[in-house]
């Protein structure tokens, strides 16, 4: 077994996390996503500081897109809140799977509040890949640094997009939108450690478009639940047989 990565101090672990965020492919993904969100916020008449506030306190691109595009159309606040909460169900299993990696070094639940709030797809994928190789006592600062790296990127490129607004050529705008699926596809595949992960990966790819095609309500939630349960079921059956 290789030695776990150590740091001279927690603040150096935090810094290493930030540097890791800025040098990963998700830097480009967040930059691309938030340039788009900045332009959207501008077009719908929100201020750049309002957008930056949603980035820090909501910290979930799908929910932010919903807020920006639904609020000005006169949708009721209840409807918007319902849409946001449905889009956020995905965060639940992500936090559940992240906690065991960091909770041993937490002195109290307070140490877990920030990583919980910071949980997002990019941070989750990178944390599951990198944290097992880091000494437990430095995992929380590293994880917070990683998240701060991503969050500062998102806030900064939100401002950039706000000022560029609609000035993006169509092909570049299309290429920016393609960054999210392309990077999540490969980085999720990189994190597949066991057969059960590979199965979940494959079931998600098939079920996602299929349920959307048949206009199943809450298609993404069902994709996760059905794909995940099927992968887990096969895993348990194989374990029982061996």
């Amino acid at each position: 077994m290789t030695a776990l990565r150590e740091f001279p101090s927690p603040s150096r672990a935090l810094l290493a996390g930030m540097l890791s965020a800025w040098s990963s492919v998700f830097f480009l993904v967040l930059a691309g996503t938030y340039v788009g969100l900045g332009a959207l916020a501008h077009d719908f008449g929100f201020s750049q500081w309002w957008l930056a506030t949603t980035t820090v306190v909501v910290w979930a691109a799908p929910a932010q897109i919903l807020l920006i595009s639904a609020l000005p159309t006169g949708a009721s606040l209840f409807e918007v809140a319902l849409g946001v909460t449905l889009s956020a169900v995905r965060l639940f299993p992500m936090v559940v799977a992240l906690l065991p990696l960091i909770r041993r070094s937490a002195r109290s639940i307070r140490d877990l509040l920030l990583p919980t709030h910071f949980t997002s797809v990019s941070m989750w994928v990178e944390s599951l890949r990198l944290l097992p190789g880091i000494a437990p006592e430095y995992r929380i600062p590293f994880c917070n640094g990683l998240s701060l790296g991503y969050m500062t990127t998102a806030v900064a490129f939100g401002f950039v997009g706000f000022h560029l607004a609609a000035g993006l050529p169509p092909l570049l705008a299309g290429a920016l939108l393609f960054l999210t699926p392309m990077s999540f596809l490969t980085s999720t595949a990189r994190n597949c450690r066991q057969l059960v992960d590979v199965l979940a990966f494959a079931f998600g790819i098939v079920l996602g478009p299929l349920l959307a095609w048949y206009r199943v309500e809450l298609d993404l939630m069902w994709t996760g639940v059905i794909g995940g349960l099927a992968a887990y079921g096969i895993h348990r059956v194989r374990e029982a047989m061996s």
Binding site: W50, A81, A97, T119, M182, L185
Partner: protein, 115 residues
Amino acid sequence: MSGPVLWGYAVIVLVGFLPNEVWRFAALFIARNLDDDSQFVLLARVIATSLITGVVAKLIVFSGGELAHIPFWIRLGAAAAGFAAFAVFRRSVFAGVATGELLLIVGGYWSGLTP
């Protein structure tokens, strides 16, 4: 700050922060004592994985914005080639994303989108 501006920030908390954050904190209070080898954690991990790859496939198949103006088979081909490059270059995410993006841009230009 004027009333409408303050209301704009109150709306963020009411319909943005609270309905979003409730899932993160529900998970924290339910799972804070679970171990890495717990079956519930494994199940949560694979459900999250299926959910993410479901989103990925949906974004490629039913694209929005300017990406929708690039033909479906170019989007699919670029994603498949990018994934192949990822596998060939020792699971390099960078190789996968760079290859996919390059092919998408070439294909998009060829299909008539202005750069």
